[in-house]
């Protein structure tokens, strides 16, 4: 249709453009270092997380429920009315 134009192309700013040459070199050095890291499989990491959670859940006050005897923030139920 008349008058319809494609929206102006947005040029995405590359954050690397904002770095000085020295900072850019530092960034590259950091990336090189990180590439050398030895990594474990995700499944191992997740397994450790799951095991910890399963082990600690029975003592997690927010999970095992509320009880005025064990949780000082829960109001005791007894009131005395005169």
């Amino acid at each position: 249709m008349e008058g319809q134009q494609a929206p102006p192309q947005e040029v995405e700013e590359d954050p690397l453009d904002l770095l000085s040459p020295e900072d850019l070199q530092k960034y590259v050095d950091q990336l090189k270092k990180e590439n050398l890291l030895s990594r474990t499989k995700t499944s191992e990491g997740c397994k450790v997380v799951m095991e910890f959670i399963t082990e600690r859940m029975p003592e997690d006050p927010l999970i095992i429920g509320i009880d005025s005897k064990t949780n000082p923030f829960i109001e005791k139920r007894d009131c005395v009315v005169f």
Binding site: D14, P15, L16, L18, L19, P21, D23, L24, Q25, Y27, V28, Q30, L31, K32, E34, N35, L37, R39, T40, K41, T42, S43, E44, G45, C46, K47, V48, V49, M50, F52, I53, E55, R56, M57, E59, D60, P61, L62, I63, G65, I66, T70, N71, P72, F73, I74, E75
Partner: protein
């Protein structure tokens, strides 16, 4: 000739950028190749207990006259320190909601506050670019020497007579110790495992470790490319690591001894406002303006979970795990606290109550409750 010099300068930058791109791609590939499991898939096994979400607001702490920006629990599990745009630091007994001490600072916007491990002092900082330490009056004594008497006791504090809790402007400012100086605002501060060192995060894009006694800078951590919004020390007793997150959407893991960045993670789409360790010290989570909470595993060196929901579209300001790590809470700009099941990824619910943005959230040391602070000038304790 100047022209040639410029050309080779540009070439260097171009080749560095290319190298950075290649290295980033390789990093992504390596991380992907080891990604053999999804946390949420593992959590969906039938053995996993179903959670019933029964958290409610148990206390409302009223006293600030403007936005609450930060809060911290004392290790005694009942006292809370809070800081506000009104320039005040308040120390509360969360069981009774009594205010035990009030400190008026000369500047407004106290973005950060922290309780010392002994309970005998607090640290705070904000737009003044400084982090200062103030001694706390113990509730049972009237002296201003900032002893450590009541911190380890669980007995109800004897509230001293009215007026003793308020520190007169003159005396408390005399007891103030400026420990840290940055070149921009302080966004976060925390004591390390003792009262003698403080870690700060700043809008000047650095984190720093300071000696409280001498106010000396011990280590400076450079790497963020924009304001650092939060920092958290490893929960491991012998831990030397801390994490930071900032407006460059990146979370860094640092070694405090070498001041070197050990790992970095950039998967958020916007500013990271909050970083918290998972209790094992081998994983951590971040809350961001992109309305998600993400979890990262250090040994797998990648993001292992993303907590989001179509209905959650406002920035997450502060997060924390429940004590077992099974639940993760996010304090949001939509005035709500959202809760997720960490291993299933499902949203458990949302907590209503605050009447403005929830700016800070922290679990109590024994996990019996968590506290939130809000721009509505109140703090709430939930259990």
């Amino acid at each position: 000739m100047a022209g040639n010099k410029n050309a080779s300068h540009v070439d260097t930058i171009e080749s560095l950028k290319k190298e950075a791109e290649q290295l980033r791609k390789k990093l992504q590939e390596d991380r992907k190749n080891l990604n053999d499991a999804e946390l949420f898939a593992m959590g969906k096994k039938p053995e996993t207990l179903n959670l019933s979400f029964q958290v409610r607001c148990r206390r409302i702490l009223k006293g600030h006259t403007s936005k609450v920006l930060d809060m911290d629990w004392s290790l005694d599990k009942r006292r809370i320190v809070s800081s506000s745009q009104d320039g005040k630091i308040l120390v509360w007994d969360a069981f009774t909601t009594n205010k035990e001490q009030a400190i008026s600072l000369p500047t407004t916007w106290v973005n950060a506050c922290a309780y010392a491990p002994s309970g005998g002092s607090i640290a705070c900082g904000g737009l003044d670019n400084k982090c200062s330490v103030f001694p706390l009056h113990s509730a049972t004594s009237t002296s201003g020497s900032g002893g450590t008497t009541s911190s380890s006791s669980n007995k109800p504090a004897v509230t001293s007579s009215a007026g003793q809790g308020d520190s007169t402007a003159g005396t408390i400012m005399q007891q103030r110790k400026v420990v840290a100086m940055h070149t921009s605002y302080i966004s976060a501060c925390t004591f390390t495992h003792s009262d003698y060192q403080i870690l700060t995060a700043s809008g000047d894009s650095t984190c720093a470790l300071w000696d409280v006694e001498s106010s000396q800078l011990l280590q400076s951590f450079h790497g963020h490319q924009s304001d650092v919004m939060d920092a958290a020390l490893s929960p491991c007793e012998t831990g030397n690591l801390f994490i930071s997150g900032g407006c460059d959407k990146t979370a860094y893991v640092w070694d405090m001894r070498t001041a070197k960045c050990v790992q970095s993670f950039q998967t958020h789409d916007s500013d990271i406002n909050s970083v918290r360790w998972f209790p094992t010290g081998e994983a951590f989570a971040t809350g961001s303006d992109d309305a998600t909470i993400r979890m990262y595993d250090l040994r797998a060196d990648r993001e292992i979970a993303c907590f989001s929901k179509d209905s959650v579209i406002f920035g997450v300001n502060s997060i924390d795990f429940s004590v077992s790590g099974r639940m993760i809470f996010g304090a949001c700009n939509d005035y709500l606290v959202h809760a997720w099941d960490t291993i299933r990824g499902v949203k458990l619910g949302a907590l209503f109550g605050h009447e403005n943005r929830v700016s800070c959230l922290k679990m109590s040391p024994d996990g019996t409750a968590f506290c939130t602070g809000s721009w509505d000038s109140t703090l709430r304790v939930w259990a």
